[in-house]
């Protein structure tokens, strides 16, 4: 431990010891190179492209490209359950949920009851879906699918237009549930 720890400490120190500035390694990234890769979307909407779509426009796209794995109505299949507005006014866990559930079977975790940010839907669908052809959806198709998912989860209406202005304003039911990690080690089990 002493030997390895010492080597590691020294290497960290070496890294920290470069106040002399950069080592001039690498090639400057051009704005074009950055734009070609920078596909992430933040909760404030940064990164959302032009375009838009509604749930009605999304329905046939969902049926063609998503339903085979996620079920005709987002009820799940070989891939995750996407749709489930229940329980209303609660998350699928915790004391309110247990009271609401009573003796019924558990409901799955869904976009409607667990996803905290609507922007995540656009980011994820655009980068990784559909599983058979990731990254193949246009911005309009992605907006329309996101609108379909939000409408099915009873968060927006079927006719609502989802675009770079409206999507960041969609308030997800589970948003207020999420809290930072408070574990810090020590005796307490958290």
């Amino acid at each position: 431990m002493i030997v390895v720890g010492a080597v590691f400490t020294i290497s960290l120190a070496a890294a920290a010891q470069s106040p002399s500035g950069p080592l001039r390694i690498g090639t400057p990234a051009t704005p074009g190179q950055i734009a070609a890769l920078d596909i992430d979307v933040r909760p404030d909407g940064t990164g959302l492209p032009p375009g838009g779509g509604t749930a009605r426009e999304g329905a046939p796209i969902y049926a063609e490209k998503c339903a085979a794995c996620h079920g005709a109505n987002g009820e799940g299949g070989t891939a995750d359950v996407l749709v489930g507005a229940e329980p209303k006014n609660s998350a699928p866990f915790g004391p309110e949920y247990e009271r609401w559930r009573g003796a019924r079977p558990d409901v799955p975790f869904t976009i409607g009851n667990y996803w905290p940010y609507a922007t995540t839907l656009f980011d994820y669908v655009r980068r990784a879906m559909p599983a058979g052809a990731p990254g193949s959806l246009t911005a309009d198709e992605t907006y329309a699918l996101v609108a379909w998912l939000l409408a099915k989860n009873e968060i927006i209406a079927e006719s609502d237009l989802i675009n770079r202005e409206t999507l960041p304003r969609v308030r997800m039911p589970a948003r207020a549930r999420f809290v930072p990690d408070s574990r810090r080690g020590g005796a307490e089990v958290k």
């Binding site: 431990m1 002493i2 030997v3 720890g5 590691f8 290497s11 960290l12 070496a14 890294a15 920290a16 470069s18 500035g21 950069p22 080592l23 390694i25 690498g26 090639t27 400057p28 990234a29 190179q33 890769l37 920078d38 596909i39 992430d40 979307v41 933040r42 909760p43 404030d44 609660s90 998350a91 699928p92 866990f93 915790g94 004391p95 309110e96 949920y97 558990d106 975790f109 667990y114 996803w115 905290p116 940010y117 995540t120 980011d123 994820y124 980068r127 990784a128 599983a131 990254g135 589970a174 549930r177 999420f178 809290v179 930072p180 990690d181 408070s182 574990r183 080690g185 005796a187 089990v189």
Partner: protein
Amino acid sequence: MRSLPADLRYIERMATKNRPTGGVTRRTALTTLSAAVAVTLRPDLVSGQDGALADTTKRWGRLPNALGARSPAENPKRTPSPTSSRTPLQDLHGTITPSDLHYERHHAGVPVVDPIAYRLMVHGMVARPITFTLQDLKRFPAATRTCFLECSGNFGGQREDVTPQDLCGLTSQSEWTGVMLSTVLNEVGARPGATWFLAEGQDAAVMTRSIPLKDAVGEAMLAYAQNGEALRPEQGYPVRLLLPGWEGNAAVKWLRRIEVGDQPFMTREETSKYTDPLVDGTAREFSLVMDARSVITSPSYPQTIEKGFVELRGVAWSGRGAIRRVDVSTDGGRTWKPATLQQPVLPKAHTRFRYAWEWDGRPTEVLSRAVDETGYTQPEMSALQRVRGRRTRYHLNPVTGWTIAADGRVRFGLQRMRA
């Protein structure tokens, strides 16, 4: 006879000349070179008809070759599912996981990345956005670190017939080498106000995670080597992020982009996945550090043990630092005694523990419980469920054990999981 290299012709001559004369007809067949080579590949040919091993002192073995291989008698395997493969913890000794047995977890398969075409782009809140080739990254001052990597969905204790591999085989340990993230950030000049960065992979999931800069920068590494050689493809070849002690999902593989920012990006994997529902109806996000855990790897299912001396063996680890102590119980948790820790005990690393035990033949349960340098004690499942509720899915690290029946049969201690 085919033409053979000189050294192989020599060894064939030696093999023929030294043919045993005991009338074992199978051994006669071994005097051709092909059969002599087969000895190293087919254990069934090594045994005589009575099952005794061939006398290895009467014939030369194979000469040095370019690439080593395991003894054909040793056959450790990962257990693959469509989304992951698990390390056979029960088959391993010491603390390093052989690279080809390191667990895998990926979300859209293993991409084939051309190391020449590979680029890492670092941009966002930086003074100088830069793309780095693999060679560029290797030019930087290098660092080496041995640590565990564990998937936060590493709990499979739902049945009595689970092995350590089934129970928690999504943890492995390697010696990693690369360039410290701090070195690369110094190169691009992270701007004041930068508090998070996005790590993005070039697999078909284009995996992304947001990483809190201040907490990560001291130990984060861009790793290009594992156990002395280039990363395995399934470990992110050619470059992965390494965050010692943090959940494996954050250690993004096939790293193609780092975007420095001033807030988390809230990707799918840090919101709808890898978050922890709690008993009070809130859900914990960015629960990145893996809490202390241990597992007895022997005895374990499906072993049968005999009365008398049994060495309890296992591994313990904590994402918060070094393991301070591992307690074991051989009486179902009534009494606990400290196990011996194999030195050196590295921080955020698998630590081997052992305990000498004399089994008296009576049914019992053997358990282990890790304590780390922060004073955290690996909890019982009941204690975890009291704070996290019924529906918690990730970051489960309960005390687990193995029941031993009067006939010596070992099974997973399932009762303890039913809080």
